[in-house]
Symmetry: C2
Subunit: 149 residues, 2 copies
DNA sequence: ATACATTAATTGTCTATACATGAATTTGTT
DNA sequence: AACAAATTCATGTATAGACAATTAATGTAT
């Protein structure tokens, strides 16, 4: 569906303005579908993202600030998201032995299980969310990378 | 900057997964810059978006639900955003004469002035936010439109 | 005309973003 | 060693997103 229909706006100032609107709208489109998928597991999209980052560490602990740097939204608040995940038993916090300012975060077995359960559903949803062939997706990725300079 | 560097993630499950991450990251990148620009005017990106929708009506009133349908984020809360804008004197609310359930919203002179002041800065920022040539932007827009099916 | 369903908007609640501030700890400098 | 500066994280506040519940007005069927 063209962005013009999606937000009922016939004309844009220029193609750059339209691209920005298009990116913002598409993000909202994606996040809204992700929310529905994660909801039964009591996870928000950002909480899922943090779990995914932790899994990527292969059971090595990672500090709160390292999580922050890897998050999609740099302005987000890793400290609070970690706290939510801890309450659900999906992560544990440990004092960092070499620097007591830092806090080591590690994903639990339970957290890994949740990711495992979600795996196939996410794979399928991703394909529905991006209805392009492989070549087109590559171009999209390159254009987005380039656009940010 | 490639998305791999931006979030310090070397590999992705596949290009579709990478595209989703890329869209979400790029949105956050854009919104964060927009926030800085709007901040001196006491506007959030979504409040600006509502003002822009109202301006697009050429001084015709528009109901809260019509605003909602035109918003980038369909799950947002137009009612509350309008209330914030009203407090700042940028919009007025009037009871709809044909249906008293509805509320007509109209942008004020003051609201139009704010948009006017922002106009040039937004034009310049859009170009910085999307560092592509015209042809590339068109492709990006088409791919995003197609991706949503 | 009454009963019932539908629609429009507001409000409440929880989570997250954006940003500022504060406390504890570490690091760098003299 | 003493002190300033930088860092790491937690926390407070305002705004916004996600979604449910509520209220008021309108539409519809019998």
């Amino acid at each position: 569906m063209k962005i013009e229909e999606a937000i009922q706006q016939k004309v844009f100032k220029d193609v750059y303005n339209k691209a920005i609107v298009n990116i913002l709208y598409t993000q909202s489109f994606i996040v809204s579908k992700q929310s529905s998928l994660f909801k039964p597991f009591g996870l928000s999209p950002e909480q899922y993202n943090v779990l995914r980052i932790l899994k990527g560490q292969n059971n090595n602990p990672i500090t709160v600030s390292s999580i922050q740097e890897r998050m999609l939204n740099k302005m987000s608040n890793a400290s609070r998201l970690v706290e939510k995940l801890k309450q659900k038993g999906y992560v544990v916090r440990e004092e960092c032995p070499t620097d007591r300012r830092q806090v080591d975060i590690r994903i639990t077995e339970e957290g890994l299980n949740v990711l495992k359960e979600l795996e196939n559903q996410i794979y399928e949803m991703n394909r529905k969310l991006i209805q392009l062939d492989e070549q087109e997706v590559e171009i999209l990725n390159n254009l987005l990378d380039k656009s940010r300079g």
